[in-house]
Amino acid sequence: MIPHEKSPADNSMDTLTTDTATRRDFLKAGAVVTGATLAPGVLFYGVAHSRPADAPASAAVRWGMLIDTQKCGDGCKSCVTACNEENGLSGKTGPQDSQWIRKVDIRNLQTGAHHELPMLCQHCEKPPCVDVCPTGASMKRADGIVLVDRHICIGCRYCMMACPYKARSLVHEPLTEQKPDVPRGMGCVEACTFCVQRVDRDESPACVEACAKDGHNAMLFGNLNDADAPIAKALKSMASTEVRADLNLNTGVRYQGI
């Protein structure tokens, strides 16, 4: 697991750490039932790392990703494979199969300059998919992650028409062997969730982890609102681009090197 920078959820952890420390002093003095009292405290410390399940996502956070196309490995598809595995996608690439992340090859028509980059849901601040969705199934969480509510998606595919990044897929056939924490369903539209199940556990998206594991480190994930976060620092210090910046969608995913 690659820990990402601190989120506001982590603030509660600080408080708890202090509380635990005070309690620890008290226990030291008392020297009674130390183990029994400390054990739940330690357990609580671990849980407090991530956002509690009943707490809403915070608007103080905006999750984002910076992709360095210079570091993106030629022909490497680790991010794609990791995504498929994490989210239970088949990995098939027929026209009716779901692809949440894909490797895109681009070549400049004038200069012939060639780049490879992963393309995924750009988690726009103003997502066209959310605008057009008739039922509100397409939605943006407070922390900027764009998701589809599987309970009210009617499968009209208007979001797929509206997305400038071709980020979305319709589930065209019955599914089996789904991942318990990644609900999917035939007839519903789906897309990259930034591995929301992992982010809520204080982990990075599977693609980011896989990219680092392979030594490329082309993908940086973190809180864009935290000035001390590596991603925010990187974005502040170097030139980066949004794909289809002309649309003014303020994407959460940024690229450098193109």
Binding site: V104, P134, G155, C156, Y158, A162, P174, V189
Partner: protein, 400 residues
């Protein structure tokens, strides 16, 4: 003198019509069930061509529905009394064609079983959500409009409700056009022109359908239908076809002027294969040139020619919807201007589409449902004047 309205008679022709269109509608429903059970994998639609043939038929029918109401609007709002005997059939067709179109649209949903969600959960920034409200409102208003025509108690509100229905239908077609007009991502859409263009298309397709149903019902039920009325409607159709051509011309000329759209225009007008053929042969030749050549030519005034012109306008309309909906998606989105793009998700590639039989049957099922409901309702209630021969009309309204 008042005009007498009568139900059509349940003769052999009636039952045969009901049987044929009932079977087609049933096959549409069965296709939808098959799709619902197996998923969209059994269709030709993909993650690239996300809207297919069912949408071509559905949007055509919805647009034609609002256009079919035009005949009634001309009588009610613009006071042309010659058209007044036709206003019941006009309003009926507005309802039945909308029902047929919505049937094809709704049964194509990935989760058609969640229709109640679409009716109860609204995102008011979505044009689709507006359309759900506009369609439901249209049903209610047109039913009220029919009541003011058919029930003496409703008569005092005839003009007011008719005017409201006219305004509503203009907003409704604006909404239908804006489904595409408000899509910023794709080059073929993203144009305010699409809303007024769809309104003009609706005049055209709605009247062509109206003429065909009118002539079919009168012939089938052996009722007199005079040339005076048919020729008026013919000239009107000719004008609407010409106006459709004009809007099509402006749409493409605008795109041709902007360098950024040259790729799209080259695709639609020259290199797009089936889509290019659908445009030139379907939309332009069959949809515009043939009807205008017939409708504006005094030598081709016969009823048979009128049928050919109206059928051509309808086929041209379906071809136009193909070019707009399928052609617009087939042309790749430009994610990286100035670059060639390739990927496993078909970025940068012209997207292939070949409709499956289930889609064709669902689309035709929508059309069949519209016709089935129209004919069936004409049997049950008094939508059609007993006589529409020239003498009756002259006696009613004097010389026109």
């Amino acid at each position: 003198m008042n005009i007498a309205f009568r139900e059509i008679q349940a003769k052999q022709g009636y039952w045969l019509t009901m049987l044929v269109f009932g079977a087609l509608a049933g096959m549409g429903v069965l296709s939808a069930l098959y799709m619902e059970h197996n998923g969209h994998i059994v269709t030709g639609m993909t993650n690239q061509i996300v809207w297919g043939l069912p949408h071509v038929f559905a949007v055509f029918l919805i647009v034609a529905a609002s256009g079919a109401l035009n005949v009634a609007s001309i009588a009610t709002v613009f006071g042309k009394t010659l058209y007044k005997p036709l206003n019941r059939l006009s309003a009926l067709m507005a309802l039945t064609f909308l029902a047929g179109g919505l049937m094809a649209l709704v049964l194509d949903l990935g989760r058609a079983d969640r229709l109640v969600v679409a009716m109860t959960q609204y995102n008011f920034k979505s044009i689709f959500a507006w359309n759900v409200i506009l369609y439901n409102g249209f049903f209610a208003i047109v039913i009220a409009y029919l009541w003011t025509m058919m029930d003496r108690k409703g008569a005092p509100w005839y003009k007011a409700v008719g005017t409201f229905a006219f305004v509503w239908r203009l907003i409704l077609t604006t909404g239908t056009g804006s489904i595409f007009g408000f899509l910023v991502a794709r080059e073929a859409y993203d144009a305010a022109l699409l809303a007024p263009m769809f309104i003009i298309f609706s005049f055209n397709y709605g009247l062509a359908m109206f003429l065909l149903i009118l002539m079919g019902l009168y012939k089938g039920d052996n009722r007199p239908l005079g040339d005076k009325l048919v020729n008026r409607l013919r000239s009107l159709l000719g004008t609407f076809v010409a106006a459709s051509l004009y809007f099509t011309l402006v749409y493409h000329l605008t795109n041709l002027y902007f360098t950024k759209h040259h790729g799209l225009e080259a695709f639609l007008l020259l290199e797009g294969g089936i889509h290019t053929q659908m445009f030139w042969v379907g939309q332009v030749l069959i949809g515009y040139v043939v009807p205008m050549a017939i409708l504006f030519n005094p030598a081709t005034r016969g009823r048979g020619w009128t049928v050919i012109a109206a059928v051509a306008a309808v086929l041209g309309g379906l071809a136009q919807m193909w070019v707009t909906i399928i052609g617009g998606q087939a042309y790749p989105m430009d994610l990286f201007p100035g670059y060639t793009v390739t990927s496993s998700f078909y970025d940068g590639a012209v997207n292939a589409y070949s409709p499956a039989l289930v889609e064709i049957l669902l689309g035709i099922g929508g059309v069949a449902t519209a016709i089935l409901l129209t004919v069936g309702a004409s049997k049950v209630l008094r939508f059609m004047p007993e006589r529409l021969d020239d003498e009756t009309l002259a006696a009613l309204h004097g010389k026109h």
